[in-house]
Structure formats: structure tokens, C-alpha cells
């Protein structure tokens, strides 16, 4: 947080200087980024690439113990997972994003989502971190990305781990 200037000495006989100090304080607060403009995202890895989804759409994160495939399922659907008695439809994000299929391993993670009609989850490699993203810093996906891939993102943002693609989950789950 930016350090505030020490308040100017005022006296009851100088109301104009009090008003001036209040205005200075307001200007200082206005210069700070508003808290509601920073949106928390969960970052996760697919290979060495980092991706993010809004924390408000996260239900929980669990280790992927067993996944049962379903015959006739679309390629982007990994199968069904029993999450403490609840059946979750696990999406293969890697395939949906065109990264190529890879068998799930013991270290794979299920990111269970909220806000969808069916219980859904994403199969990811590992969790990166939680980031407070300043919405002003979100940029469009790179022009070098194929249109099909770019359509899965609301944008990208630079984080310490690299360029993080911010997933558009509502679109992703329809693919």
C-alpha cells in the first residue's frame, strides 16, 4: 500500500486547510487499485504451462485416485470420478486445449467446479498457486494461438510462472 503523506497540521481556525487535507486523502485512496478489481484465480499446470480459473467457480481440489472411462464419451471427457460418493464428470482439459492426451497419473489432480448443472471437474497435472489478478492486466490471448484454442480463454495475464491462460469455463465445458 502506498505510504500516505503525513497530515498537514490544521487548526480549527483554518477550515479551508481541513478541506484541503480531506481532498488530498481522497486523491490518495483513489490512486490505489480498488479491491474489487482484483479477482482471485486458481492457477494449475498442464505440463509446464500455467492456466487459471476464477476461484468463485472452484468447489474443491482433490487427488485423482481412480477415473472410469465411459464408452462413447466425447474426446474431451476423461470419464467419471467418485468424489466421496458423488459422481463427477471429469473433463480432459489437455485434450480440449489441443495439448495431446496423456494418461492420468497418481499425481493428477481433480479440480471440482461449481456453478454447472452437472457435477464437473477438470483433470490437471498439479496446482500452481492462487493469484489476485488485476482485471486491467488481462490481455487478449496471443495472436499466435489457434482460434479454437484462443476461444477457450477470456485472456492471459503474466504471473511469475509465465503467461497464464485464463480459462473461459462456460465455453470450455461446451466443447
Amino acid at each position: 500500500m502506498a505510504q500516505q503523506e503525513p497530515a498537514a497540521p490544521v487548526t480549527p481556525s483554518a477550515p479551508d486547510r481541513i478541506l484541503e487535507a480531506i481532498e488530498r486523502q481522497r486523491a490518495t485512496i483513489a490512486a490505489l487499485p480498488a479491491e474489487q478489481e482484483r479477482v482471485p484465480y486458481l492457477g494449475f499446470f498442464l505440463d509446464s504451462e500455467v492456466y487459471g480459473l476464477p476461484l468463485e467457480q472452484l468447489r474443491e481440489v482433490a487427488r485423482l485416485t481412480r477415473i472410469r472411462r465411459v464408452p462413447g464419451a466425447p474426446p474431451g471427457v476423461a470419464g467419471l470420478v467418485n468424489l466421496r460418493g458423488e459422481i463427477i464428470c471429469a473433463l480432459e482439459v489437455r485434450t480440449i486445449l489441443g495439448l495431446g492426451a496423456r494418461a492420468t497419473s497418481e499425481s493428477s489432480i481433480l479440480v471440482a467446479l461449481r456453478g454447472f448443472a452437472d457435477p464437473l471437474g477438470l483433470v490437471v497435472d498439479s496446482i500452481a498457486d492462487i493469484y489476485a489478478i488485476d482485471t486491467d492486466q488481462i490481455e487478449s490471448p496471443p495472436a499466435t494461438w489457434p482460434a479454437e484454442r484462443a476461444a477457450c480463454f477470456v485472456g492471459t495475464v503474466r504471473v511469475p510462472e509465465g503467461l497464464m491462460g485464463l480459462l473461459d469455463l462456460n465455453r470450455l465445458v461446451k466443447l
Binding site: 481412480r66 465411459v70 462413447g72 464419451a73 466425447p74 467418485n82 460418493g85 464428470c89 452437472d118
Partner: protein, 151 residues
Amino acid sequence: MKGASLRGRHGDPVEELDSSAVVTLLLFEAADCLMALPASEVARLLAPGSQQASDEGGASVAWIDLDEYFSGRRSEGPWLRWDRGERCAWLRVGCVVEVLACAIQALAPMPACFRSEGRGGAVGGAGVRGDDVFLLMDPARLADPRNELST
């Protein structure tokens, strides 16, 4: 647990549904999946290789190898005789796993992404067994080469 009443179009009670009701399922493996059928709909079990010994090998009853149906690989497992009212079929599975009593409320409809008109449409729902998941099959939706199962 208190039962819930189902009502017909005119409001008349048609069935008493107990949410704690239990259905007995026959679990089997096929096409690398764990699948289930209501045990009450499984009338017979034929050991591998005994298809020819059956006197029902004619055109009136469908014989469907579920491994081949879903994954293109032929199974060498047993055959189950499925009967539901007038409908019937012989289903070949990889192996029979167990008979499981399952609360109806523990069964879930398939998520929308699995509901299809294709071959996956034969999966009507899913349930849990320990930390595993099984698929509840509806053989009536299997696409018979003759477009419908025997009636």
C-alpha cells in the same frame, strides 16, 4: 425414510416411491468399464464358448458382444441373458464381478455430455461402489444390427 408419492396426470397416486429403496445389480466388466444391470433382468448366464450350445442362437434374439460393441475388440467372457418384459438379448461381457445391493438414491443420471444418440446412449446412469464408479446399462438402447432388440 418417508416415501414420496408419484402422481399421475390427473393427480391420482400411481406409485409409492421409497427413497431408501434398494435395487440389486449385477456388476460386470466390459469394454474396460465397470457396468451394471438390474439383477432381476438377468435371467441366465452362459459360460464362455457355450453360445453354440444355446438353442436361442436364431435370428429372434440379439447377441451383442459389449466389448466389440463399444471398443471393437471381441470378448471371450460369459454371456448374460437380459430380459425386460417382451424384450430380450444376449450380452457378452468381459467378466462378472459381483452382485451389489445399491440404494436407488445413490444412482445418478448421466451428465449431459454423456447423453448421446450414439452408442454411449446405452448408458442410462451411474453409481458408486467403494471408491469406484459403475455405469448402469440400459440394453434397450443398444443399437442392434437389426435396429431393435427382439420383441
